[in-house]
Symmetry: none
Subunit: 128 residues, 4 copies
DNA sequence: GTGGTCTAGACCACC
DNA sequence: GTGGTCTAGACCACG
């Protein structure tokens, strides 16, 4: 389930964060679903629990999961408060990347295709 | 010309590489144009010459520049593969950001609007 | 009546203690009034009875409530020392926040305005 | 310089954060001044370097210090961007604490006194 | 059982 | 030299 590249330049806790985000955004992990415990996951992917911890704490800070001490970590439902703020940031990022991409010759159609593929992923027909 | 962020998590030699690549692909630096020498550039942006060296060596390895001993470093002619490589990276980034944005509720229209604004911006004086 | 935050970093028994203290010092709970039994309260706020127990025991130790075996738990008469203790804590907090705010450029007037607005708010129907 | 209470309930990395904030806010540590290195500080106060790291990273996240890899950690100058955001939060906190304090009988004069003491600390006459 | 903190010691990239 | 990451193993508080 979690394929990590131990040799990668990206620290493995960041790889973990990315993977988890994908699972949450792709709604493979549903809101309020419990995540594997720090220890269990550590054993499963044979990695130190501290490393999982680091990833989980960052995900919590970013609002993707929430922690109940003594219980576990859970997928956060989308909060409106964080939503607006975050969307603004994403819009800025989008603007930057889109302009760079189009400057280098990417066509409007290429971007539309990306949007479509995302719609399929998120839409009724969950790929899972 | 080269705005570097010393505080960034990216090593500055990598920031240099990225900047140079963009200037080369965007043809701000024309093929066979001579690059500033390691020493002068180091002085200009007050950075350790070793760091510049490292960036130049890596750019040469990747085929973006070539070195003539005793003369200096020069911009290599652009290969399509370079643009392609860059565009692939941008596509991946786009996919990530778009899916995150749409998960948080951004509408297709919002993205289309961003595209339009970029089109307008580039529409007038595209250098290419 | 008791709004607890299960996700908070503060253990919930401490949250309970703080809430109770405020209710007692603010005289929402009057001296010698009977508190809800451990079980009923546990049911009401759907929390482990052990947790309630722990809070009650600590409140007793600190002199805020007293226990009559076979009868239940009761609000102790307020001692000045309790108010004093609480006020000291608040003063420390105030000092920290005020110094941080003024370091970041908040003006004395801004704080005075906050005080005024609080005075207005309390002015009308102070329970005490 | 750093008196830590190893027995305290507050984790020592949080104690460190508080101390550092005080030093920065009190301008004992001036903007762009270099902080002791992770290792040095660790030796000085005989604490594990990882613990210092944790404190430094959090301070960076909160905008109090910035890190230059390979160089060290430095006191951040006040950024306007973070300022506005943070001040809003502080105002809310202030409102909450002030209203609680005044409800419990704290006088306007007590608060004014706190403000004065802060003014002295920050003003021309640095206590150091 | 859960997460949170801490230590000791190691290796890496960067400058 | 600096910070950044990771491991192994320990102890604690919480529910």
């Amino acid at each position: 389930m979690f394929e990590l590249d131990l040799r990668s330049r990206l620290p493995i806790y960041e790889q973990l964060i990315e993977k988890m985000k994908e699972l949450i955004i792709g709604e493979v992990l549903k809101p309020n679903e419990q995540l594997p415990s720090v220890r269990t996951l550590a054993q499963q992917i044979t990695i130190n629990p501290n490393t999982i911890q680091k990833a989980y704490r960052e995900l919590e800070r970013q609002g993707y999961i929430y922690t109940v001490k003594g219980k576990g970590n859970f997928v956060a439902p989308i909060l409106e408060s964080m939503q607006q703020e975050k969307l603004e940031k994403l819009k800025e990022e989008l603007l930057k990347i889109v302009s760079e991409a189009m400057y280098l010759g990417m066509k409007k159609e290429d971007i539309l295709q990306i949007i479509s593929s995302v719609e399929n992923m998120l839409g009724g027909g969950n790929l899972k």
